[in-house]
Structure formats: structure tokens, C-alpha cells
Amino acid sequence: MDLEMLWYLVPSVIMFCAGVFGFITRKNTIALLLSLELMLNAADLNFVVFNRYLFPGSMEGMVFTLFAIAIAAAETAIAIAIIINIYRAVGNSDITSAQKMKF
């Protein structure tokens, strides 16, 4: 029995769809961010699996995943700064309560 490419893609599909579900249905902005991380990780796993099975001699998928991880870290830091600012302005961090901008 071999570990085939399909085996790694199935958990990745389920992770991505769980992320889509969370992104549509959650009210809390931090929960939205958690769902976003799930989707990003599914995409990263796909990059690496395709790299390993289809082009084992090169390393482009791994390099893409490294850049994606760095950019995800930056994006999360900024998003959390914005969430804390929303919390200061309206008293909670729900998306339904942040409906007005300043100007």
C-alpha cells in the first residue's frame, strides 16, 4: 500500500470547506480570521503535495508555501490590530456591530 497524492488532498479539501463554512457563518471577527487560516493552510498543503508528487526534482511549491506563511503572519498581525481597534470603538468584536466608518 502506497501513500498516494489523493490521500493528502482529501484532508486538504475538508479543511478548505470547513474554512469556507466558518467564514460565511461566524459573527466574531477573530473566528473569521481562524477560518481564513484554515483555508490558507489547505492551499499551502496542496502546493507542497503537488510539488512532491508531480515535480519531485524542483522546490517551487515549497518556496511558494514559505512565502505564503510569511505573508499570512503579516496579514494576521494587521488584522488583529484592526480587530482590537474595532473593539475599542464599539465595545465588542462582532462584524454586525462595526457598520459605520468615521467619515
Binding site: M1, L3, G19, T25, L38, P56, M59, I71, I78, A81
Partner: protein, 175 residues
């Protein structure tokens, strides 16, 4: 032919990823959701190790499990009481979300199972054939300017991280 231990490890980790990623988006306590996400991230890094990308697995643990999750826990504890349950959206939004995600999951799985998969090489054969990536290769790839070398994106990411530090401070400071 992969070893039995590898296959058992795969099944344990895949089951963990599936269960905890569903729990992440269904748990109503946000701190627990963050903890479940941490388990998913560690499971993905075990997959990276299993696929032969040791550096990537270490980066995944260091950046995600070590950095981003700490940020998440700080943000959650700054904005919620630890036992607080988050509110739910209206019923029709939840119905749309459930139907859309289940539909896309089924469609993607069907597409996967009927896809003509190219590349028949097995995992252990591919790793054993001298295709594993050393730190030397990674360093060369990130600091060169030839084909398949990535100095410019590397520097761009460093500038992005700098601007992200400044932006985070500016956005979150008290006025």
C-alpha cells in the same frame, strides 16, 4: 511501498486534521476554537515532515504554532471573557453557509476521485531518489538571482514585514 508506521501515522494525523478543523468552525467558545486550530496546524506540519520537507515543517511550527497562535490568544483574551460564548448569525445565513460548504466539499471530492492523476511515483521512492531538499539548496534558492532563485521576492517580503510592524503599531496605538 511505504512502511506500515508511515501509513498509520498518516491515518492518525488525517483524522486529527478533519475532526479538529470541523471543531474549529463549529465551537462557540473562541478560545477553544483557537486551540483546535493549533492542533490542525501541528497536524499539517507533521504532513510536511512526512513528505520530506523538514525545513517547511519547522517553519510551520515556529511561525504558526509559535507566533500566530500567541497573537490570536492575546487578541482573544483582550476582547473576550474566557468563558464567553460568541453569538450566532441569523438562521438563513447559517443555512446558506452549511449548504454552500457541503456542496463545494462534495463537488471537490468528486472531482478529485474522477481526476486522471498523473505522476505515478510513490512517496518513499521519490524521497529516496535523492530528491530531498537540503538547507544548502534552500539558501541558494533564496539568495540568488538566476532562474528558479528568489532574491527579489525575499527582499519584498522583508519590506512587507517592516511595513506590517509599522502599520500594526499605527493602527493599534491609543490616541
Amino acid at each position: 511501498m511505504d512502511s506500515v508506521a508511515n501509513i498509520i501515522l498518516y491515518f492518525v494525523v488525517a483524522l486529527c486534521i478533519v475532526i479538529f478543523s470541523v471543531l474549529t468552525v463549529t465551537s462557540r467558545r473562541i478560545l477553544r476554537a483557537a486551540t483546535y486550530l493549533l492542533f490542525v496546524l501541528i497536524g499539517v506540519s507533521v504532513f510536511y515532515f512526512q513528505l520530506g520537507y523538514q525545513f517547511l515543517g519547522a517553519v510551520q511550527i515556529a511561525v504558526y504554532a509559535g507566533g500566530i497562535m500567541v497573537l490570536f490568544v492575546f487578541a482573544i483574551l483582550l476582547t473576550h471573557r474566557p468563558d464567553q460564548k460568541t453569538g450566532l448569525l441569523e438562521q438563513h445565513r447559517r443555512t446558506v453557509g452549511i449548504s454552500l460548504s457541503v456542496l463545494s466539499c462534495v463537488l471537490l471530492l468528486l472531482a478529485l476521485f474522477f481526476m486522471p492523476l498523473i505522476g505515478g511515483e510513490s512517496l518513499s521512492a521519490s524521497i529516496a531518489a535523492g530528491n530531498d531538499i537540503t538547507m544548502h539548496d534552500i539558501g541558494k534558492a533564496f539568495t540568488g538571482t538566476d532562474r528558479f532563485q528568489y532574491l527579489l521576492p525575499f527582499e519584498a517580503v522583508s519590506i512587507l514585514l517592516l511595513s506590517c510592524i509599522i502599520g500594526g503599531v499605527v493602527v493599534a496605538r491609543k490616541r
